[in-house]
Symmetry: C2
């Protein structure tokens, strides 16, 4: 398998964690987002959306981190990143999508750049924007996790899974923007538990070969 | 089953289509987004994120449209909304997530309201914002679908599935904002094919009991 990745991309970070949890080897290719390498014609052939990550597995090419991780789950089911029952799987997917669909897309680099370059938004309002959507999402996530009997050492039970794979990159991203994490004790506890695992620690942006 | 819905919510529209395609009966409860009913304490107990849709199935409550649809797919597999092979399933999920994670969240009502109310963005720039993200996403989607051998009458083959379930509400939404659809002939063709099916037509915003 080959993974197109960028060290600071939250979506690529998710896939790096998932590959590590499943113990899957891959070749990596680095796509420098700030240098706009994702818009190069050769890369757009692999991923017409011009985003990272892209996973190539033989003649299969997949974009969108959650589609990639569901594919890995189906093709390499052990260890599972989703629990066994439909209700539990729905809970984990809801938690993952809350992050991947409702926080991250509004706060990612291309949106922040549009605010600055196309709308003339200053740094203070850009930061306010970022923190508003992170706080809204993390508040809901904390409410869903805290005191829920299904929450364990990780987001669902005592084995790391898809929700944790999404949580840790979002927490890393929020820390970069100096979001106050005091309102999210459950998220912080789970994040810390994940980062004790090599699968998560080895996927962190700062230890990637393309880190700057 | 009980579905909390709002006629104009794209995410609720997706779940209405999926339920119809699978022939599943449900009770509906209406959550009026413009009147902020999604922030009412009673509703936040069902969905701490304060969004629609929410599906209640016995003692299982699920938010996030794609988590709900994957749950329906696992609990009521016929007719399937995902194809059989992991590679084909990944393709369909990628198409669905392109819409559900990369277009819709940036352009939904709460984000547009934030632009107007918190950032003082005028109507012209708000519309420019909307169209920018729709055009970026639909351009990639058209590239992924046009000329791909897996694309059929619908997004994947000749039976409607998860990608179509996401496409049709996005096309409806784009039409409301008068986006020029000429660059997207494949998307238009598939959208038209879907709307010939009662499952899609009966889920349309304008024919819902809570339509205004």
């Amino acid at each position: 398998m080959k993974l197109y990745t960028y060290y600071r991309s939250s979506a690529a970070y998710r896939v790096r964690i998932a590959l590590n949890l499943k113990g899957l080897e891959r070749e990596e290719a680095y796509v420098h987002l700030r240098r706009q390498e994702q818009r190069a014609p050769a890369y757009l052939k692999e991923n017409p959306q011009g985003l990272v990550p892209t996973l190539i597995d033989g003649d299969v090419g997949i974009g969108q981190s959650l589609a990639i991780i569901e594919y890995l789950e189906e093709t390499h089911p052990e260890p599972p990143l989703l629990p066994a029952t439909p209700a539990a799987r729905a809970r984990v997917r809801q938690l993952a999508l809350l992050i991947a669909a409702d926080i991250h897309p509004i706060d990612n680099l291309k949106v922040l750049n549009y605010l600055t370059r196309e709308m003339g938004v200053d740094e203070a309002d850009r930061l306010k924007w970022y923190r508003h959507w992170v706080d809204e999402g993390l508040t809901a996530l904390e409410a869903l996790l805290a005191g829920n009997a299904d929450t364990g050492r990780y987001c669902h039970g005592d084995a790391p899974g898809l929700a944790d794979v999404c949580l840790v990159p979002q927490m890393y991203n929020a820390a970069r923007f100096e979001v106050d994490m005091a309102p999210y004790p459950t998220l912080c506890r789970i994040n810390d538990a994940c980062l004790e695992l090599a699968a998560f620690a080895d996927a962190a942006p700062d230890v990637q070969p393309d880190a700057e």
